[in-house]
């Protein structure tokens, strides 16, 4: 598919106002851990960047030490992405914060048309306290439900603000309306950065084996050897079915049709493409630990 063209991965963050998208963006910027992130936001409104991290700032771009940038796209997302594609070197990951009323699936569908980018996944945040009320709002309800059903991974945020019963019932409801999407429960949008940054690697897979989770309590990272050729789609589905807590996987898998394939799993999304030259078989998986995990078997 990629014909050897280097494509920058894009993760789309969706969710209605107040769900915690901006908090998650701020969290990622603080925990980029040497990765070069490009964050695209609709506006700089609530982005809080420590002043000492800012190297340069113009109307539309804030450059941060460590090579991260934050760009506001205003009413022209594609211009911003086209400008970003000229950045040298290319960022390791683009995180695109959709506006509160945008449908992240539609954005993903369009981003996937851009030759310089590939969609890594759609992460949709939901505010545990308000999401169900909003989903029945006469104006915005159907938009909320469309956002939730677009998700590859759902983040049930502000889980600390509701009691146990509400938490359990909201969790169950989120799974229902998202057709069984994997759900991460969080407070303050503190999603483990590894879950979003797993996309980043040098293409050989070797670096994954020694990846150390920043928040070991939140998830389990495993390195899977895959030496025998497999039917890759079935293999991926089996991984997902076999581990209800699996949220991400990335690596290289030998195909029964010959050759090595890149396999990426982001929640429910499975992407398979030809592996780059020099890639070695092996797969990194990230599973949530039970306390953080939200999927019934």
């Amino acid at each position: 598919m990629t014909d050897g063209l280097i494509q920058t991965p894009v993760t789309i963050l969706g969710g209605y106002l107040g769900a915690g998208k901006t908090t998650l963006v701020n969290h990622l910027l603080r925990n980029a851990d040497g990765k070069r992130l490009a964050i695209l936001v609709n506006d700089f409104g609530d982005i809080a960047i420590d002043a000492d991290l800012i190297e340069a700032q113009s109307d539309d771009i804030i450059s941060l030490s460590g090579g991260c940038v934050c760009c506001s796209y205003g009413n022209d997302l594609f211009m911003a992405m086209s400008d970003l594609a000229k950045m040298e070197p290319a960022p390791d990951l683009v995180v695109l914060e959709a506006s509160g009323v945008a449908l992240p699936g539609a954005i993903a569908s369009s981003v996937s048309l851009l030759p310089d980018y590939c969609v890594e996944g759609i992460v949709v945040l939901a505010d545990s306290e308000t999401v169900r009320t909003r989903a029945s709002d006469k104006y915005i309800g159907d938009t909320i439900l469309r956002q939730l059903s677009d998700a590859d991974i759902l983040v049930m945020n502000k889980a600390d603000l509701v009691d146990q019963d509400a938490r359990a019932s909201t969790l169950k409801w989120l799974r229902e309306v998202s057709d069984g999407c994997r759900v991460i429960e969080t407070q303050h949008a503190q999603v483990d950065p590894q879950i979003l940054l797993l996309a980043i690697g040098d293409g050989t897979g070797a670096n994954y084996s020694d990846a150390q989770p920043a928040h070991a309590s939140q998830h389990a990272t495993k390195f899977l050897e895959v030496s025998e050729p497999v039917e890759v789609q079935e293999f991926a589905e089996a991984l997902l079915n076999g581990d209800p807590n699996l949220v991400r996987a990335k690596g290289f898998v030998p195909s029964h049709e010959g050759g090595l394939m890149t396999l990426q799993i982001t929640g429910e999304r499975i992407d398979i493409s030809a592996a780059p030259a020099g890639a070695k078989p092996g797969l990194v998986t990230i599973s949530l630990r039970n306390t953080q995990t939200a999927r019934s078997a």
């Binding site: 209605y16 569908s109 048309l113 104006y139 915005i140």
Partner: protein
């Protein structure tokens, strides 16, 4: 004492009920000194009698309450629309009546270009007039295989491109799975791109670049020329980002002695936070000048009906399409309306669907309880599907409406057959209902979506004909007098400019539309064909044929 000029005319329609028709108007310092007979006006002192308009009819300068200055910019691209249309220089482009004519027109433009790789953009295609036969990339390849060629549809929601353009955008490949990109029998895209999300990435390659939506200096001047040709002396530029450099340019250009129109440019809500929007509008208000009015806000609430992106109430679209999109969160809309009411800022809202209109009405009701505002004149723009209950609410809430009368002509058949079905299509753009309920009303072109031309817009509201020649919605027709009011004082009222323009009476701006015929006495079916000689703006004379 400054010089007084008295103009005589065959008839002067003043829109002032105390003196509805006169023969003379006196002008001093760019303003109207008085109207009446020559004898009445002589009392003002020494004057010069100007008889050049003796065989003309003078109306108040027309006011276009919903247009975009980018109409001036689009004329740099090849016009391939179905209807005859006049460009800023007065050249009348004949309509392209079939796909062959479109190809022919583009091929001529192709031959005029030296660089074989330069992009070739065209605009205003509308396949509904070709029995919905779609333009294919193979057809556009006949224009050129070396340069990217693309045509923007009249609706602004669809684009067709050639193979070269697809190739440059990396899309000339099988396996694409996007609802906005139809595929041909060969598994490759047909070249049609539906919706801004798929148009924009390819549009960049065919010459629809980032400056397209904003009028640059030349675009603004061309837009003003179109104003003169259509009798318009005050026109809105209804959705602009208005960064500092654009404001400086617009201030400079509009201040020139030969700039013939007053531009009212509204700050578009998108791309900034609601707080920033309010602050920016306040700042812009301080930069307002006579010919560049700033400080108003435009909020786009939903999409378009023919693009199926408007928000409709139950039962939704006639063809079963999924409900449309919100372009602003209700919370943000509520915040902006509240803050604007509190701070005395003036807001216009784009709502095409009736659910979007309902949301604005809800927010206004709430906002007005918190911030009573006796003369806010917030205006619902397009508001195409409002029913009578909504007009009753508008009246109670003190809102104005600017209905899209032209739309009824161009897309009325489409609405009848496809988007909203016969019943709602018949009452769309309900001008008579608005007036019956006492809602201050304007009517508009939304240029460049349809051509700038308030007399055409008035014709559309009076006759309610669709392209196919059907009268659609007899009950919502309005009188010629009401239509002429809507394109002068009606539109001026929605901009809070009715004290300055929109009628010919003492103290107001000397803004006139100079017409070849009398719109009040021609057959109402001929209203659109009343010739425009030009305008007088701020006492300055602009003859269309001499631009």
């Amino acid at each position: 004492m400054a010089d007084i000029t008295i103009y005589s005319a065959r008839k002067i329609i003043t829109m002032n009920p105390a003196r509805p028709f006169v023969t003379h108007v006196a002008v001093r310092e760019g303003r109207i000194l008085g109207v009446g007979s020559l004898e009445e006006l002589q009392g003002w002192g020494a004057y010069e009698l100007d008889e050049r308009f003796n065989d003309k009819v003078i109306m108040p300068g027309l006011v276009e309450g919903h247009s975009h200055a980018m109409e001036g910019t689009l004329w740099r691209y090849t016009y391939v629309g179905f209807f005859d249309r006049m460009d800023p220089d007065g050249k009348k482009w004949s309509g392209a009546k079939d796909i062959e004519a479109v190809i022919q027109r583009l091929s001529e433009a192709n031959d005029a270009l030296d660089d074989p790789e330069a992009p070739l953009p065209g605009w205003s295609l509308d396949p509904i007039y070709f029995n919905n036969e779609r333009v294919s990339r193979e057809q556009l390849d006949r224009v050129s295989t070396t340069r990217p060629v693309g045509i923007l549809h009249a609706s602004g929601h669809i684009m067709n491109v050639n193979s070269k353009a697809l190739e440059m955008a990396g899309l000339l490949k099988p396996g694409l799975n996007n609802p906005g990109i139809p595929l041909g029998a060969d598994g490759l895209p047909t070249g049609e791109l539906k919706g801004p999300d798929v148009m924009t990435p390819v549009g960049l390659h065919v010459g629809f670049d980032r400056d397209m939506l904003a009028a640059d200096e030349r675009g603004l001047i061309d837009f003003a020329k179109l104003c003169v040709r259509s009798g318009v002396t005050t026109a809105t530029d209804l959705a602009a980002r208005l960064p500092d450099e654009a404001v400086s340019m617009m201030t400079k250009v509009t201040a020139r002695d030969n700039f013939p129109a007053r531009i009212v440019s509204l700050r578009f809500h998108h791309g900034v936070t609601p707080e920033e929007l309010i602050d920016h509008a306040k700042l812009l208000k301080t930069k307002s000048s006579d010919r560049l009015r700033l400080g108003m806000i435009k909020i786009v609430v939903d999409g378009s009906i023919q693009g199926f992106s408007a928000r409709l109430r139950w039962p939704g679209y006639y063809n079963g399409a999924t409900n449309g999109l919100w372009y602003i969160a209700p919370e943000h809309l509520r915040f902006i309306l509240n803050a604007a009411l509190r701070d005395g800022l003036h807001v216009h809202t784009h709502t095409n669907g009736d659910e979007a209109t309902e949301l604005v009405l809800d927010c206004m009701e709430e906002g007005l309880l918190a911030h009573p505002s006796p003369d806010h004149r917030f205006t619902l723009q397009h508001c195409q599907l409002a029913d009578r209950a909504q007009f009753r609410r508008m009246a109670k809430l003190g809102m104005c409406v600017n209905l899209f009368a032209n739309h009824h002509f161009y897309w009325g058949d489409e609405h009848y057959n496809l988007t909203v079905g016969p019943e709602r299509a018949t009452r769309m753009n309900a001008c008579a209902s608005a007036l019956e309920h006492g809602v201050p009303m304007a009517i508009h072109s939304d240029a460049p979506i349809t051509p700038l031309g308030p007399l055409f817009t008035a014709w559309a509201a009076v006759n309610r004909l669709t392209v196919s020649g059907r009268t659609q919605g007899e009950a919502e027709k309005i009188s010629v007098a009401d239509a002429l009011y809507a394109i002068t004082l009606g539109a001026a009222y929605t901009l809070k400019l009715d004290g300055e323009v929109g009628s010919i009476e003492t103290g107001k701006c000397a803004d006139f539309a100079i017409l070849e015929d009398d719109p009040e006495s021609v057959d109402p079916g001929d209203l659109k064909d009343v010739g425009v000689w030009g305008t007088v703006q701020g006492g300055r004379i602009f003859q269309a044929s001499a631009l």
